[in-house]
């Protein structure tokens, strides 16, 4: 299962990211992971949240432009070498990673990948014994 990532357009100037977090905070949306890509003028915030529907609804109401992007999330052991093992499997199936980000939990670490063909990548990785996390699992981390 792929996970829905919320991608939001932000102007690259002071206060815009805070405005976003304020809207999410006011609506009790919890951000599980966050990554920022930027140019000199604008940026894209990518995040995993506990409630995708609520997040996109309140963002729209507050005039943010947001879109949902399917990403793959995998849990690995939080120790040296485990990311390397995971990426080796991506290499073996020849899947190109557009971008990735990561966060560490109490026991495990979580890797989030954007690839161009999510379904295909997921199926091939499953064949290598890797199971991607569901939306619920990510929310529960």
């Amino acid at each position: 299962m792929s996970v829905n990532q919320v991608s939001v357009f932000l102007e690259n100037k002071p206060g815009t990211l805070n405005k976003l977090t304020e809207v999410l905070a006011d609506n009790k949306v919890n951000i599980r992971a966050l990554s920022l890509a930027e140019t000199s003028e604008f940026g894209i915030v990518r995040m995993l949240v506990n409630d995708v529907f609520e997040a996109t609804t309140v963002l729209k109401e507050n005039h943010f432009v947001a879109t949902l992007t399917p990403v793959l999330a995998y849990a690995i052991a939080d120790e040296a070498g485990d990311l390397n093992k995971l990426l080796k499997k991506f290499s073996e199936i020849e899947v190109n990673i557009e971008y990735m980000y990561a966060f560490a939990g109490k026991e495990r670490a979580y890797m989030i990948f954007r690839v161009n063909d999510t379904k295909k990548a997921e199926a091939l990785l499953k064949g290598k014994g890797l199971r991607s996390l569901t939306q619920e699992e990510i929310s529960a981390v």
């Binding site: 357009f9 815009t16 003028e41 604008f42 879109t67």
Partner: protein, 433 residues
């Protein structure tokens, strides 16, 4: 029908047109004096009576009407006939905030439809054509005007109105439509959609496009012509004067013939109101010679263009106007080039952005800086940074093609462009000149 819809008048010798105008204008001025107290008061204040208007040469003695008058006289103040004689209104949202409502008698509609029929025939249309009218129907004059003209020519008229692109394309392909009437930006959009669906110009049955109601460039014309495999003709008009068809292009595509048996055109200096000689650029002013319900005299269009009486090889003798560059009161001069916000709007809409933008002009080291802020829309946003950048670059290229100078496009958050009274503030000019 051949090359002309009404050859006798469209190709009449200049003397005959002048004689007709000399006959009609004094009568029309007296008609307005008798029936429109609003304009009579203006004439009185100006110290002129119908007795002073003996021929078309006396036109310059009369006071102007402007958008402000339409606003002041809203809704019935400029109506010259009882409502029982009116059969239709058309309306435009106008840029001054107040709606413009224009009334028509059946005669007025006939006159207007004659003009659009002339435009269709001038573009090469005939009763053998299937004419798809993709202008909006309803209050907007585009749909009603071309629909009526298409009937008069005898085309099979396909009244699709605007929007619903898939359905438009289905009708074009299934009915083998040969004429398309719509705004140039919508034509560009349809062209793009057909291209994306894999249709090549030779697969598309259209032969003729009649496009108007907004500013468009020669580049845009060539693009649309190439993608659809058609010849694209410009048509001009304004609701206040009747609607599209006041002027239109012929096969020469070198200026639009103004229908001088119904309308007298003048070019004035927008600042002084002085009438300018032929060939000089200025503000276009229209007088309707034989309209009954809503007969405007010396109406200032705010459109900037020039007129020419040079002989046209199509055979039509009526004066030609150049494509208006835009409205006189919102033109900017940036790096020596005239820029009209409407041109920017055309590019934005053409590329799928909302027409919400702001132009910021400044001056650094004696050079003008030119930035266009464009609000991001859900349609144009993607999670892919490179793709967003690429779309921005396409927009910059489009603006450069339209304006001839480079603009820096900045993508901003939705609803972030300042609005006052519900209308966007379009231009911020910080140059101290």
């Amino acid at each position: 029908m051949g090359k002309y819809f009404q050859e006798e008048i469209e190709c009449a010798p200049l003397e005959k047109i002048k004689a007709l105008q000399d006959d009609l204008l004094p009568k029309q001025v007296r008609y307005v004096w008798d029936n429109v107290p609003y304009y009579r008061k203006k004439m009185e204040a100006h110290g002129v009576t119908p007795d002073d208007i003996k021929s078309a040469a006396d036109l310059h003695k009369l006071p102007f009407l402007s958008k402000a008058d339409l606003k002041a006289a809203y809704p019935y103040g400029l109506l010259a006939v009882p409502l029982r004689d009116c059969v239709r209104i058309q309306s435009t949202s106008g840029t001054t905030g107040k709606r413009v409502i224009v009334f028509y008698t059946q005669e007025d509609i006939d006159l207007w439809e004659d003009c659009t029929a002339r435009a269709i025939v001038a573009a090469g249309g005939s009763a053998d054509d299937v004419c798809q009218v993709s202008y909006g129907y309803g209050l907007f004059t585009g749909g009603a005007g071309l629909d009526g003209g298409s009937h008069k020519v005898g085309c099979l008229t396909v009244p699709t109105s605007s929007g619903n692109t898939e359905r438009q394309i289905m009708f074009i392909m299934d009915l083998q439509a040969t004429i398309l009437c719509c705004t140039p930006s919508y034509a560009a959009y349809l062209a793009e959609s057909l291209k994306e669906m894999g249709y090549k110009p030779e697969d598309i049955p259209l032969k003729i496009g009649i496009f108007g109601a907004e500013a468009w460039s020669e580049e845009m014309r060539r693009d649309i012509e190439k993608t659809l495999g058609i010849k694209a003709y410009d048509i001009y008009g304004l609701t206040e004067i009747s609607g599209p068809g006041v002027a239109f292009e012929c096969s020469e595509q070198n200026g639009m013939h103004i229908q001088e048996d119904h309308f007298i055109a003048e070019i004035i200096d927008p600042d002084t109101g002085e009438v300018l000689p032929e060939g000089t650029q200025g503000e276009l002013v229209f007088t309707a010679l034989d309209k009954k319900a809503f007969p405007l005299i010396r109406y200032r269009t705010r459109d900037i263009c020039t007129l020419t009486r040079e002989k046209c090889s199509c055979g039509r003798t009526h004066v030609r106007m150049t494509k208006p560059k835009g409205r006189s009161d919102d033109m900017l001069i940036i790096r020596g080039v005239n820029v009209f916000p409407s041109q920017i709007e055309t590019v934005l809409m053409n590329q799928g952005y909302a027409a919400n933008y702001q132009i910021i002009v400044g001056r650094v080291n004696n050079t003008d800086t030119f930035e266009v802020k464009v609000e991001m829309t859900p349609d144009m946003f993607t999670d892919n940074l490179g793709e967003v950048q690429a779309r921005r670059k396409i927009l910059e290229d489009g603006l450069r093609a339209m304006l001839g100078i480079k603009a820096k496009v900045t993508l901003v958050a939705p609803k972030s462009i300042t609005r006052s009274e519900g209308k966007a503030v379009r231009v911020i000019d910080t140059r101290k000149i």
